[in-house]
């Protein structure tokens, strides 16, 4: 020890006039750093209430709650996250994982109140001073917790697919399916969107768990045609998928297909539940399309004896006769149908009600009748000359190709329409070696066909001519036909309505082709219904009016499918069939409907 040791400590005095680093609250204000993880903000319009924040929160600080003035809609649960600041640890994992990017954190960190209840609040729904703050924590661009890209589906290349009726979509391998299933947030937003309300998160989880048997059981709870739907479903689910907000939707449809593809038909009965014992009641189903087959399956599961009457030589309806083989191979439809048949459902083929058997007989012989006869009559284009022999119907050519007949396209085809039937007809013609052009009266983005179908058609060198209105059809030499069409301009019809195409009179063009295929939609045919039933069944704008359970005005008659719903797709028909099965059961056992079967 030295003198220095005694004197040196007095050096502390030199800092005596230094300004302290303490903030004199509330006189001074010290804002948080630009990245500070302060109080939550939520862009309430952008938020879809998927609940991923709630799921990831390790403190259970987040709870999805209803918010006044907000209801659920497709792709939005209507709920919004409430944060409990008694539990929150400000880790911002909720912000990092938010698939819409709506959740954020401001850099505000002082909030004084004498009511402890206020610290449990719904960011965005309750106005706060920091709502508009630009500063605060946001996920760094270079880091993300969710994979935005879906696993690419192996496809036949267009140069091969345009020549072949082989199935284009090759299906996922186990690794690919598990990787894709991994992307699912399991938020369940899609369940509400699916017309059949399939339990999508559960069957995707079954894939992740490598338990396709469980996946198939879950699938059959709401959809007895998974092999077909897994290929051609209109997949409304994918349009509402939460992942779509920050990348691509989960390939829900392909995952369902993956499940069905992993299990042989002969093993289905080992995996799926057996139907109930026959209860002595008999139900007639008219039409063996997806609606009729679904109704038949669920009725049979509940113990009813079901007989299906179908006018075609094979069951499947539009799945078989309306969708080309390259999208839905026939053996896949057969797989779904054979399983339903194996449960004891009788299907009478080539037995058209009204032609081969009278409706009255079914009405008398059976306890209930369900009809889903679809839309067999093509709409007329209402243009001059459309009855020309070279003007073919879209559904008819698809039907003929399925039956192995020559639709007589010739070498060049003009397809009119923008729906899936138009795409299918055009691509089928392409595979038969034709030069094909599609004429559609609105813009490409207005096309009702699936985006994939439009893209694939273009890749297969189908010409797409939009804003083209057919004006008249003229006879042309050498057995050809001329389509005269005019350019349309789009007229705005106000918010919420599609713009209307209006013909520009002086801009007419014409094209001479071997055949014109009209695929602008179809209409129902009610000629099989006797007047006594028609009196009670209400028909509005060509559609049977049904309630939630498929009930028509006649207590014994139920309906569903394209004939009754405006979505006109397989999954909606399946949903109708399922609901009608419940309705029939309810009608026949009003006091005690069949014990809710686990598969119904």
């Amino acid at each position: 020890m030295s003198v220095k040791d005694v004197i040196a400590p007095f050096a502390v005095w030199k800092r005596v006039f230094e300004k302290p680093y303490t903030t004199a609250k509330p006189l001074d204000d010290r804002p948080g750093a630009p990245r500070y993880r302060g109080f939550h903000t939520n862009d309430i319009e952008k938020c879809i209430g998927c609940g991923t924040c709630e799921e990831i929160c390790q403190n259970n600080a987040i709870d999805l709650v209803p918010v006044e003035g907000r209801s659920s809609k497709h792709g939005d649960s209507g709920l919004r996250p409430a944060v409990d600041y008694g539990r929150c640890c400000w880790c911002a994992l909720c912000v990092d994982i938010c698939p819409t990017g709506s959740l954020g954190m401001s850099n505000e960190y002082v909030w004084v109140d004498n009511d402890p209840e206020v610290f449990r609040f719904v960011p965005g729904a309750e106005a706060k001073a920091w709502d508009k703050s630009d500063l605060g924590y946001a996920r760094d661009e270079q880091y993300r917790l969710l994979e935005p890209k879906r696993v690419e589906m192996p496809m036949l290349p267009p140069e091969e697919s345009e020549k072949s009726f082989l199935e284009m979509v090759q299906g996922y391998s186990k690794e690919q399916a598990e990787k894709e299933a991994d992307r699912c947030l399991a938020c369940g937003i899609c369940v509400a969107t699916c017309p059949a309300h399939m339990n999508v998160p559960a069957y995707i989880e079954a894939i992740r768990e490598d338990n396709v048997d469980e996946g198939l059981r879950i699938t059959y709870e709401a959809n007895p045609l998974p092999a077909s739907c897994g290929r051609v479903c209109s997949h409304a689910c994918e349009y509402s998928c939460a992942m779509k907000n920050d990348g691509e939707a989960v390939s829900i449809r392909w995952l369902k297909r993956y499940i069905a593809d992993q299990i042989y038909l002969k093993d289905y009965d080992k995996v799926l539940d057996s139907p109930d014992e026959l209860n002595g009641r008999h139900i007639a189903v008219i039409g063996a399309g997806p609606g009729g087959l679904a109704a038949a399956y669920y009725l049979r599961m509940m113990g009813y004896s079901v007989t299906v009457y179908d006018g075609n030589d094979k069951a499947g309806g539009m799945l078989r006769y309306g969708i080309p083989e390259y999208r839905l191979p026939y053996e896949q439809i057969d797989k779904d149908i054979e399983y339903i048949r194996s449960l004891g459902v009788t299907i009478h083929q080539e037995t058209q009600v009204g032609r081969d058997v009278e409706f009255e007989k079914l009405y008398k012989d059976y306890d209930a009748v369900f009809f889903s006869t679809g839309l067999p009559k093509p709409y007329a284009m209402n243009v001059e000359g459309e009855n020309h022999a070279r003007v073919l119907s879209g559904v008819k050519v698809l039907d003929e190709v399925t039956k192995g007949e020559d639709p007589g396209f010739g070498r060049s085809v003009a397809v009119i329409g923008g729906g899936n039937v138009a795409m299918d007809a055009a691509r089928t013609a392409r595979r038969l070696g034709c030069e094909v052009a599609i004429y559609y009266r609105r813009r490409e983005e207005d096309m009702p066909a699936d985006v994939e179908e439009i893209e694939e058609a273009k890749a297969e060198r189908v010409d797409l001519i939009t804003q083209a209105i057919p004006v008249r059809v003229e006879d042309a030499p050498n057995g050809q036909v001329t389509l005269v069409w005019g350019k349309a301009r789009m007229v705005d019809k106000g918010p919420g309505r599609r713009p209307e195409p209006v013909l520009i009179e002086d801009e007419l063009s014409s094209v001479t082709v071997d055949s014109i295929v009209s695929a602008i939609g179809q209409d129902a045919d009610y000629s099989f219904l006797p007047a006594s039933v028609l009196d009670r069944v209400r028909i509005e704008r060509g559609k049977v009016v049904i309630d939630r359970f498929g009930r028509t005005g006649d207590p014994k008659v139920f309906a569903g499918g394209d004939i009754a719903n405006s979505k006109r797709d397989a999954i909606s028909a399946i949903a109708n069939g399922h609901e009608a099965a419940k309705g029939i059961d309810w009608m026949l056992n009003p006091e005690a409907p069949t014990t809710p079967h686990q598969n119904v």
């Binding site: 020890m1 400590p9 302290p20 990831i56 911002a92 994992l93 760094d140 270079q142 880091y143 969710l146």
Partner: protein
Amino acid sequence: MYEVDTVVEPDIIDPAKLASGEERIDLDSEKFVKLWQGPNHPGVTGNMSLELILNGDTVVGCKTHVGYLHRGFEKLMERRRWIQNFPLVCRICVPEPDFNEYLYAAAVEELAGIEIPPRAKWLRTLTLEMARLASFLMWMGGQAGSFGMGTIGQWTVTHRDYVLDLFEELSGGRIYHMYIIPGGVRADLPAGYAERVEEVLEKVERLLAEIELILFNNAVFKGRAQGLGIIPREIIEEYGITGPNARAAGVARDIRKDQPYLVYDQLEFSVVTGEVSDAYNRARVRWQEMIQSVDLIRQILKKMPPEGDIHTMLPSVLHWKIPAGQTYLRAECTRGEYGYFVAADGTGYPRRVCVRGPSYTHAVALLEKLAVGTNISDIAGLMVSLHTYPPEVER
């Protein structure tokens, strides 16, 4: 005013008699007083207590008690998904959270077979060195304060706040940074960050120079710290002593050198050692390590790749399962070896996480030994000189 009839002179016991068994601790003999220091006492470094037996001013027996701050982190982690634990682990050790973040993330990455981008490694090393600096600054205030020099504590805690400002700017949090996440780090450096780091480093360097003058050349500090709590060289191995406590005794043991992790093999530094591990020399070693950290931070900012990825895409964190396996990873924190044992059983949750902090050794077993023979007024200084954090003892 009152009068004291008699002044009882304490009956001072020769420690040799206690050691030989000739005298034993009998509280009824009126030669001994039992005194609790803690759990609420400014002289213990956190929520633990010392049950001291005094003879006069001298501690003749010490029993440490923990259990006041057991939060059950290890069990909590078994109920949380792999990703959900990263905001949890930092809370295990309040003054030095980053080592928990790093070790948990690194263990998870090892078990899951994830390689993190090079820039993320540099950023992790940067935060770990900043964390060492912040932790030492906090400790320095405690060490000076425990010997009655509160001014130094005010300075060092202010300087710690400058470092926390840097953390706040980088990660969005001052104490719990939650910056190191499995896969990498959560954000890149903000624009102009290196300059602001440099400003703080210069302030810290000035402070360290002043501390040299007013603490290490302070008659009071020298008088009280020199020779206090000498850790004999031979018990270093026996007790498993690590960090500056061991290095001050001349044991060149530093995981950053012995088993380099992150980018420590690309940095130039040498292990700081002393000769005798008493409170003074331990403080000296830590002071030198602060200078070393300042230098390492400068090296990191200079050598770091200017750009690059900061995070490796993980499998979906909601369903992330890690194959069965186990690992033990360690890192050199300010107090010594910090280790994480993590076991996975193929599910989405850790099967077992065990945190091995240096404080358990230093604050429980070692302190009981060193306290005996120490003056009661130096117990606080002794405990701080071992640099222990009870939160990390108990988890």
